[in-house]
């Protein structure tokens, strides 16, 4: 199953108005046209504007949608966000660089390793710090495990939105195995704070490689099972095929990245085009879709999971020996065992923990491919031990702008499907 490019059907996408395709007879012109013509409508003829959310099980968090309906057809969608805004970017300006890492992790709470990598990579770019190869490989392994984790949560919850209850339990079973692996290597299941400026916090423990390999050996067959449940499922196909199609160029104009853009046929993946870390060392493919409907989005993500498994296996095969963190004592904490014998190490440790390291003035932008698209971090350093500005370009925040174009003209039920396939994480949107 290493076939990168899929073609599943070639039916033309309608992308338009569902009412135009039904055989039902429409009496008169639509209320929209009549209101536009200046006609006053009766109360039952007007558009009905309702609230979906903020507390709605299908909005994947506290997202509020103002939906204008004509009967069952969506005429307008306005996303209202900000319900879990916690001022993380502002707080980051008040913390020294190494204390910012746990903050940015909690933005997009399903792809914490990507958030960490965006921030840590940006600071490394400002410091012009080279990190050792082993650290780069360990980061790749954790980033790809994180992608599996994120996509599994997405698959379980999205299938649940479309009525496939069992998928939720299967996906969360496998997702829990990823969390067990994180717990083994980092000590935490979520929000691990594993990446440090200069490398990673700790080398992987004995047995981690064996467990990851066991997981990687099992995962493709699990994905086969999931695809067997969903790929040819009549309900799933009817709910997802040809729904929510937005042309590729329009998606690019709207700033959409990640699996949504790739499902529309654009082979854009920062791991390939702008490889950070050592992604250039690995042989993997970029799955793309042909139509750009919900079904393509689902297929692209599932295929991405297979590619992630391949990357992890290759990274384990080629894992270099050596240090897992850079040897720059002005930035990196000295090894624990040196503290008892070396005065210099103790001084450095004290200075780094109390004051933190200073980053030379400058600004940088560093982007990684998170499970949802381009996750960019902008850091402005003013020469002190605290960043003067941290901004995260979160992919969910930008992708959410495409929701309106996916939904208008479709049914309310398709709105749920579109939102599920959009995969927004509200922690990342609101930050």
């Amino acid at each position: 199953m290493s076939d990168g490019v899929q073609t599943h059907h070639s039916a033309p996408a309608h992308g338009g108005d569902v009412l135009a395709e039904t055989e039902a007879e429409v009496i008169g012109t639509s209320p929209i046209e009549r209101t536009a013509a200046g006609e006053a409508l009766g109360p039952e003829e007007e558009l009905l504007t309702i609230n979906m959310g903020p507390h709605h099980p299908a909005t994947h968090g506290v997202l509020r949608l103002l939906v204008s309906l004509e009967g069952e057809v969506v005429r307008d969608v306005k996303p209202i966000v900000g319900y879990v805004h916690t001022g993380i970017e502002k707080n980051c300006e008040d913390k020294s660089y190494w204390k910012v890492i746990p903050f940015v992790e909690r933005m997009d709470y399903l792809s914490y390793f990507s958030n960490m990598e965006a921030f840590v990579g940006c600071v490394e770019r400002l410091l012009e710090l080279e990190i050792p190869p082993r650290a780069q490989y360990l980061r790749v392994i954790h980033l790809e495990l994180n992608r599996l984790h994120s996509h599994l949560v997405w698959l379980g919850t999205s299938a649940l939105d479309l009525g496939a209850m069992s998928m939720f339990f299967y996906c969360f079973r496998d997702r829990d195995k990823v969390l067990d692996l994180f717990e083994m290597s980092t000590g935490q299941r979520m929000h691990t704070r594993y990446f440090q400026v200069g490398g990673v916090f700790e080398d992987i423990p004995v047995g981690f490689e064996r467990n990851v390999r066991a997981f990687c050996a099992e995962m493709p067959s699990r994905l086969d099972q999931y695809e067997a449940i969903l790929n040819a499922n009549e309900i799933f196909l009817r709910r997802t095929r040809d729904v929510g199609v937005v042309p590729r160029q329009r998606l690019i104009d709207l700033g959409v990245t990640g699996p949504l853009l790739r499902a529309a046929g654009e082979p854009w993946d920062l791991r390939k085009v702008e490889p950070c870390l050592r992604y250039g060392d690995f042989d993997f493919k970029i799955p793309i879709g042909t139509v750009g409907d919900g079904y393509d989005r689902y297929r692209v993500r599932v295929q991405e999971m297979r590619e992630s498994v391949r990357i992890i296996e290759q990274a384990l095969d080629g894992l270099p020996e050596g240090p897992w963190i850079a040897d720059d004592r002005k930035v990196v904490l000295p090894p624990r065992d040196e503290l008892a014998t070396s005065m210099e190490a103790l001084i450095h440790h004290f200075k780094l923990v109390t004051e933190g390291y200073r980053v030379p003035p400058g600004e940088a932008y560093y982007a990684v491919e998170s499970p949802r698209g381009e996750l960019g971090c902008f850091v402005l350093a003013d020469g002190s031990a605290k960043p003067a500005r941290v901004h995260i370009r979160d992919p969910s925040f930008v992708n959410l702008q495409a929701l309106r174009e996916m939904c208008v003209g479709g049914y309310v039920a398709d709105l749920i499907q579109n939102l599920a396939m959009l995969d927004p994480i509200l922690g990342g949107i609101d930050r």
């Binding site: 966000v81 900000g82 700033g255 959409v256 854009w268 085009v273 370009r393 930008v398």
Partner: protein, 177 residues
């Protein structure tokens, strides 16, 4: 990324095309190129970078506000442009001065060129109080609509808001309004 001479070339051509002194400065650091431009000409600059053959920065990766206090001009609106076929990034920073008298700094909205800027510009308005002219729907996006102040400015204190509990009701009657 354009290298340092490439950046100077872009700046030169931009000055010729979009009017002289539209580019206020350039810098190239950490392998990244940045143009500092006049905020009054931002639309012409962005349109030139987007449409000119050979440039074609058609993807707006990110747009964010920065407060450079105590530097002058104080604010920056930073556009991270991307040319997808060449995989080249270019940063454009509009240097905005504070107008004084509690007025808000203003800049033209680029939603007509890059539709993805809509949420980004609302966010910058929300946090820095930078007004984007001709933005289709300029409202606060993450903070509550009735919020007063521009929280990401550097002179806005962290934790500057009093935490109000119901036991304070006698001291602050009807605080919840």
């Amino acid at each position: 990324m354009p290298d340092a001479p490439g950046l100077e070339l872009i700046a030169q051509e931009l000055d010729d095309a979009a009017g002289s002194d539209s580019v206020l400065g350039t810098y190239h650091e950490h392998g990244q190129a940045c143009l500092i431009v006049d905020p009054e000409r931002i639309l012409e600059v962005l349109r030139w970078l987007r449409e000119t053959p050979g440039q074609e920065y058609r993807f707006l990766a990110s747009l964010h506000g920065v407060d450079y206090l105590p530097a002058e001009p104080r604010f920056g609106v930073v556009y991270e442009l991307l040319n997808m076929p060449r995989v080249e990034r270019l940063r454009v920073r509009a240097a905005l001065a504070e107008p004084g008298d509690d007025a808000l700094p203003e800049i033209d909205s680029c939603v007509s060129l890059y539709p993805s800027a809509e949420f980004h510009e609302r966010e910058v308005y929300d946090f820095f109080g930078i007004v984007f002219r001709d933005h289709p729907d300029l409202r606060r996006i993450l903070m509550p609509e009735d919020y007063v102040g521009w929280p990401q400015r550097r002179d806005f204190p962290v934790g500057g808001e009093p935490v109000i509990f119901t036991r304070d009701e006698p001291d602050m009657p009807r605080w919840y309004e």
